[in-house]
């Protein structure tokens, strides 16, 4: 790894595309597959994850001096669990329909690998400013990934986007897209596409260097 750590701005840009948590680092797959049946729940989940990720990053980087090596995972999970419970209660209070639709996947943000890995790699070693930048970058990347998958699945699966009808009435809705197998297939193909684009861009960069 580069000996000097990337600066806050670099981490922010990294989070969105170059090191996108879902497409590049293959983290946080559980919620990505589960809630992307439609764009609305996907965006709510991305917003909840963003809130938890940023506040956990801030909290961990504030107390990073006191962390003991063998108990640090416990501290991370405690912090993240607290913020997730707050988010879950907030959702249940003010967006009750959405909370019912997301169901068990809101508490599953606790074990979302993106958050714990960001705490481990970045915020337990960096200042608060860098941690916030990294948190925001990563959650934007996560939201982007979730949005892309949800758009594909919703348009193909139920012919709507954000609930508004997009496809012509005659479009046969692919029920499979909303079902679990559709999630796997969409994500697999999107990963392949992302890899292919990355490869082509790398080749073009190599050629004109």
């Amino acid at each position: 790894m580069a000996s000097q750590d990337p600066t806050a701005v670099e981490r922010f840009i990294n989070g969105i595309l170059p090191e996108n948590p879902v497409y590049r680092q293959l983290l946080g797959m559980c919620p990505t597959l589960a809630v992307t049946g439609a764009v609305k729940p996907a965006m709510t989940m991305a917003a909840a994850t963003a809130f938890v990720l940023i506040s956990a990053n801030v909290m961990i980087s504030l107390i990073r001096g006191l962390l003991k090596p063998h108990l640090r995972i416990l501290v991370f999970t405690l912090t993240i669990a607290t913020f997730v419970t707050i988010a879950d209660r907030f959702l249940a209070a003010y967006m009750y329909q959405m909370s019912k639709q997301l169901g068990p996947y809101v508490p599953l943000i606790i074990v979302n690998c993106v958050i714990i890995s960001r705490c481990e790699i970045c915020s337990s070693k960096q200042r608060v400013g860098v941690a916030i930048a990294d948190g925001v970058g990563m959650s934007l990347g996560f939201a982007l990934a979730l949005g892309s998958i949800a758009t594909v699945r919703e348009i193909l699966g139920s012919g709507t986007w954000f609930g508004l009808p997009v496809m012509p009435e005659s479009w046969p809705k692919w029920g499979i897209m909303v079902l679990p197998p559709g999630a796997f297939l969409t994500l697999g193909l999107l990963l392949g596409a992302a890899e292919w684009i990355g490869r082509k861009r790398a080749e073009k960069a190599k050629q004109n260097r």
Binding site: L71, T79, T82, A92, A93, K173, V178, L179
Partner: protein, 225 residues
């Protein structure tokens, strides 16, 4: 690696974890009590909003007021009880009943609200509160046009049966959703079973007189729905 901590050392090492759990425990409880009211309100509102739709002629706020004043609990002979909502019109005259019901569907549990008229003799409407049936097939049981409107007008006495062809009008047949016969049958089974158990107690209550009499609830008096 680390030195061998003594007994007090174990706790000393983990003082951060203990401090954090104290702080977080307190914070969470604070958030919970702050938001609990709104969450409970959401749950209750979800039911009360449906009442005017289920029972024609009922007024939402009046019913809510009456039902929050005293809970109507009906119980059958062998002790299972169920909270029921008396739907009242704007002037307080009883307009019908709303009976929550639930059971095992195709994939998971299905919760419904059954609307009955004042004498609990005919079903006035059905609303599916909660279901996890297969999207695209089973979850059409929630759609008004396809399924739930068929329940309105059916009599509460004879059990409903599911048919795949067009039902004979006026009979107690319900047309199943294509490709989701199991879900449709489960809904009808839930409705039949709940009506069979609580039909008589509701009718007894209806005869006892318009005003809902508070009956000492056998279980802990709490809003179950």
């Amino acid at each position: 690696m680390d030195e061998q901590p003594t007994r007090k050392g174990y706790i000393g090492q983990a003082w951060l974890v203990i401090l954090l759990s104290l702080v977080y425990g307190g914070a969470l409880a604070g958030v919970e009590t702050a938001l609990r009211e709104t969450i409970a309100e959401n749950k209750r509102r979800e039911t009360y909003d449906r009442i005017p739709v289920l029972v024609p002629g009922a007024d939402g706020d009046k019913t809510r007021e009456v039902n929050q004043a005293d809970e109507v609990i009906v119980a059958d002979a062998d002790g299972n009880w169920q909270r029921v909502y008396l739907a009242v019109a704007a002037d307080g005259a009883p307009a019908g009943w709303v009976l929550p019901a639930g059971g095992q569907g195709f994939a998971d549990r299905i919760d419904v609200l059954i609307g009955l008229d004042a004498q609990a003799s005919t079903i006035t409407g059905l609303y599916v509160l909660d279901q996890k049936e297969t999207p695209g097939l089973g979850n059409f049981i929630t759609s008004e046009a396809l399924f739930t409107n068929q329940f309105a007008g059916k009599s509460a006495d004879d059990p409903l049966t599911v048919v795949t062809t067009d039902p004979i009008s006026g009979s107690h047949q319900i047309k199943a959703i294509t490709g989701a016969t199991i879900s449709s049958e489960s809904v009808c089974r839930i409705v039949n079973r709940t009506l069979a158990t609580f039909k008589q107690p509701i009718r007894r209550r209806a005869l006892q007189g318009g005003k809902a009499t508070a009956q000492a609830p056998p279980g802990p008096g709490k809003d179950t729905q």
